[in-house]
Symmetry: C2
Subunit: 208 residues, 2 copies
């Protein structure tokens, strides 16, 4: 053996296709799997297969779900006039954990990125505009990431949603975004310039 | 859904059991698998299963192999009087790639680490000593890692091998280790203190 056994080389190759996993990490993971109990390796393999078999996208909000429509879209307790637009399913999870949001969601599955060739047709934007047209939505909360691609996507959505407004009359459509500012528990001294600038520009009137 | 669908949570959990994979990375990997073609996910799952099914340890050198004994131990071209002791199968691969070594190997599967509770019985040390007793071995090349655990393991092996020497007579047993010094292509300025100290202590006589 001056080369690795084919099954070992194959697993290294498959691991190295995962994002952020280089060849060295793929080798480490492979040798970990080789050494780990057969049971644990089987659970990992089966979890990969099961997630692909059982997880689908909600045909309404495009969140991941085992049943279509998803449990949030089906929940009669949710405010159906309010739709929060996020980039990824994990963002839904993060917002749900706050317990502060009671509306529906719309998952774009990414953000616009001219550099990476991701345009409006690669995201669930057409479907969002259709929802706005046909559902009784009164407010869209833009919750894309506070980075370049996220802000760019939000700006694009604002312009597309504004175009729709005349079509919707007499229904009013409010467009909002998550507040920007200092993170709670953070230290002003360590806040980056962008955050600090936004927190000054958006300073709150304490009504004193 | 205020929590993740169970198959998604399960895959995140399995990924996060891998070494160096935290919860955030496990989430990223899971969502990557969700988005990747079914085919690619299946190949990863199958590669994991296949590696566990088909890879065994060579009963002689404890390298990983599909057939016992492994192709190196079976190769009549290899020098059977020479055995290189390494910590891991990947070390065998690294040495094979140099093309500079033509002997056999012995894979310890780790290094002694009192802090982590890894003692001689957790490694293939007993098996190494048996091989030295019963095979016509004339030189042991210690190629454990040049770090604390590796050096500690090498020192331990030297003392155990010395104890054996009287048993082996009249056969002589030479014990060597890989040279320490400046890495080729490296920059003296950036070499760490330990490397530089070893490269001074082991300075080469150029015979001028």
């Amino acid at each position: 053996m001056s080369e690795l056994a084919p099954p070992v080389a194959a697993l290294i190759e498959e691991f190295s296709k995962l994002p952020g996993i280089g060849i060295k990490t793929a080798q480490r993971l492979t040798f970990y799997v080789l050494r780990s109990p057969a049971d644990q390796a089987r659970r990992l393999a089966e979890a990969i297969l099961r997630v692909k078999e059982s997880i689908i996208y909600c045909s309404r909000c495009f969140n991941i779900t085992e049943h279509d429509p998803c449990s949030i879209c089906q929940d009669p307790q949710r405010d159906r006039q309010l739709v929060c637009v996020v980039e990824e399913p994990l963002d839904v999870l993060a917002l749900e954990r706050t317990g502060a949001y009671k509306g529906l969601y719309h998952v774009l599955h990414g953000a616009l990125s001219p550099l990476e060739g991701i345009g409006p047709d690669n995201l669930r934007i057409k479907e969002l505009l259709e929802r706005v047209r046909h559902e009784e939505i009164h407010e869209i909360v833009l919750a894309t990431n506070p980075n370049f691609e996220g802000e760019y996507t939000a700006n694009y959505l604002v312009s597309r949603l504004r175009e729709l407004k005349s079509e919707l009359a007499p229904r009013q459509l409010k467009i909002t975004s998550l507040a920007r500012g200092l993170p709670i528990g953070g230290d002003l001294e360590y806040a980056d310039e962008g955050t600090l600038r936004r927190s000054i520009e958006g300073r709150l009137d304490l009504g004193a």
